[in-house]
């Protein structure tokens, strides 16, 4: 963290573009507000919803769905006049529905693109919790506590069909002392456009130049043709498909880690940008996100894949609520604001997050989210 800060300072000082932009402006404006603003709960955020019945609708991310459902039930218990309907339709549909105004809250694993924001400048993406993505595998004969070490280069080789067997020397070289079976590698990927695919291919692109050059990263990519490779729908499909396929390798949202473990799947320790191998734990995810806290911009749009923390897990992200800051009625706006504020505070308690293995938002990010929530009106 400290090293990264120093590097950032040095690089910023020598970058001519910075100087050209900052010095010639002559506008006397303050520095870029990259640090968290003071907590704004209380400033524009109501303590609770208005009296009278309110129905809030939510749809989107399948990864966020279980947590959103738990939140909806708990919030209804506390505020009986507020009912929240939830649906798992995918991040893309969540963004589209919220942008079109057909739902009150869209849930997304990814922040809004610039194209989304230009089309719908009233939309906000507000982090609700910290998520991560694990790489699962179904490799027969491994000891239960084993977390195979994998990196982007090896995973890229597996997904482009260059590594076809689990006992390939390149995998073995990363895992000394582990007996690997001669089982065929079966890469699974998502059939539909997916935030998880974006995260996983981003990781591959960051660690493997050839993957970046040929395939790249996106919510949808042209997967290299690999004999036996399969496309699955949703995280549920990925877990189920992997359970049923010895030799599989699959990328899955952290909320499904418990399900994957129960199904006998292993999960990898992934190499981060500093060369260390980390498994997705509360600590490694928290450390990874912590290295981005001070850099998170005020609109909270930030990609955190491949972060700089040596003790951090490399594939982490915020789970976002996509909301319009212009609501049809004051009562609706108040209900949305109160619920979202509750979600990032009381809703970030372990009793809710642990069941999906999400991590709570760091305090400065809560402040940033509150500042965004306060804009809803």
């Amino acid at each position: 963290m400290a090293l990264r800060s120093r590097l950032l300072l040095v690089a910023a000082a020598v970058l001519p573009l910075t100087l050209a932009a900052g010095c010639s402006g002559g506008t006397g404006n303050a520095a870029v507000p990259l640090t968290a603003t003071p907590a704004s709960s209380g400033g524009g955020i109501p303590a609770g919803p208005a009296l009278g019945p309110q129905v809030l609708s939510e749809t989107g991310s399948t990864l966020l769905f279980p947590l959103m459902r738990a939140w909806a039930a708990a919030y209804h218990q506390q505020h009986g006049n507020v009912s929240i309907t939830t649906a798992a339709t995918g991040s893309g549909k969540g963004i589209a529905a919220a942008s079109a105004g057909t739902v009150d809250i869209g849930a997304s694993d990814a922040f809004l693109s610039s194209g989304d924001l230009v089309t719908n400048p009233a939309m906000l993406n507000i982090p609700l919790a910290v998520s991560a993505q694990q790489v699962n595998y179904n490799v027969p004969g491994l000891r239960p506590a084993t977390h195979l070490r994998l990196n982007g280069e090896v995973l890229a080789e597996m997904y482009r069909g260059a590594i076809t067997s689990w006992n390939d020397p390149r995998i073995a070289a990363l895992n000394p002392g582990v007996r690997l079976p001669h089982t065929r590698v079966v890469p699974l990927h998502r059939a539909e456009s997916s935030g998880d695919t974006f995260l996983f291919t981003s990781y591959l692109s960051m660690q493997d130049a050839a993957w970046d050059r040929v395939t790249g990263y996106s919510t949808t990519v042209a997967w290299p043709p690999v004999p036996g490779a399969r496309a699955e729908t949703g995280n549920t499909g990925m877990v189920a498909g992997c359970k049923a396929t010895p030799g599989c390798v699959a990328y899955v949202g952290i909320a499904y880690l418990s399900s994957a473990i129960r199904g006998g799947l292993g999960y990898a320790a992934l190499q981060n940008a500093r060369g260390a191998y980390q498994a997705p734990t509360a600590k490694t995810i928290g450390v990874a996100v912590g290295s981005f806290v001070s850099a998170t911009p005020v609109n909270e749009t930030i990609s955190m894949v491949g972060g700089p923390a040596a003790a951090g897990y490399p594939i982490v992200n915020y789970e976002y609520a996509v909301v319009s800051k212009r609501q049809h009625s004051a009562a609706k706006a108040r209900a949305i604001k109160a619920f979202l504020h509750w979600a990032i505070t009381a809703g970030n308690a372990a009793q809710y997050l642990d069941q999906v293995r999400f991590q709570p938002l760091p305090a400065p990010v809560v402040s940033l989210s509150d500042a965004q929530i306060a804009k809803i009106g």
Partner: protein
Amino acid sequence: MVTTPAQQPAPPGQPAPGQPPAPDAPGQPPAAGAPGWQPPAGAGAPASPPARWRTQATVPARLRILLITLLIAVAAFGAVGAWTVIQHASAARDVVSTSEPLSLAAQRMYQDLSDADGTATTAFVAGPNVPLAARERYAADIARAAADLTRLQNAATTAGNPRLVRGLAAVAAGLPVYAGYVSQAQTEFLLGYRLTAGSFMQVASEEMHLALLPAARASYAQENAALTAASARATGLPWIVVVLVLAIALGFVLYRAQRWLSGSTHRVFNLGLLAASVALAVSVLWLLIAFAVARTDLQRGVGHGSVPAEALAQAAIDTQQARGYQVLNLISRSGAATFVKDFQAIRAELGPGPGTLLATAAAASTGAGARWATAAAHDVQRWYTVIDRGYALDDKAQYTAETALAIGPGAGGSTAGFARVEADLSRAIDADHAVFHANATAGRDAFSGLDVVIIVAAVLMAAGCAWGLSRRLVEYR
């Protein structure tokens, strides 16, 4: 000499030989209806002339009243005429020396900001080490935008335009924020965190598209409206009509006075009043010609210069935005659907086609401006084809090919296509600005010296009236 012997004024109180007694000779007012009495020529017969005439003043008194009336009318014509000319000349000078440069500065700031964003995003996609040319272009864009912003802020503060001050303050507030995000993106990229860098680049671009460009566009619209208003003030008709009405009234009084004097004194001309009439005619003619020339020039300047230049400037912004969306999609990689939607909206506004920016510009421009606007309309369609191909590749997840098409150096790529359209538009804008400047300058120059002409003419008219009528008054002493 313009009087005939038969028309020599008779000695006061005596009729000239062979002539009836002069009416109202001092000391001998003729009785109403008496021989030799004549009503004022052209005055029209009053209902009961003798009764009215008895109540009228004597000839010297009437001459004095006439003189005072003429002097007042001349003063009114001179004052209103000179004031009107000064107002129009001032507005024409304002068009050339204030409004046009400010409008140009606002337009340049708007375009520079947009170009800075396009340059920064394109350079970002090319890699962590920003090419020197892109670095210089970005730095120049930001520097020019900042300089124009300062100039516009000073002018808006001086002019006491709070709305414009607020809009420019939004640009001033957003510019360092934008530049900060860009530098943060480049720093993260240099450190190897490309995805984080990409998200900062997107945040920067969003700041540009959602805050800076709308504020800059509003400022440009206000400056352009001020230019149009200044041009309208310089070419406005109401006060010119007032001056003309005054001139006609003055001319009528002069004419009637000369008719009256001619009829009552049997002199064909009164030199003083004749000189005043000539001065009036010359000044009015000069005023009309100068005003017509200025009005024609300024209206041509606006219609064939600033109007198409405004449309072309917006077209240039649109092409930069279309280019920006194409490049941002390469960074965003989260589905091209909304970028395609935004691109189609821009395409519909940009044209070509009826009612589009390029069609408007081509129709309003003349000469080189029209030629380059037409060329832009042609080249932009070829560029659209390349962009469409790029988004089609995106649909198929052919990102390498899409990136090569979008930012590659090939002649058939988007970079080259965009550069062609940009060059066409830039030349068309320059040509239209030249048209505007030449016409506005000619319009301004048409007013040169006109205020002096009006004042000198008024002085001459006053002197002529005073001299011409005082000669008549002297005859009664």
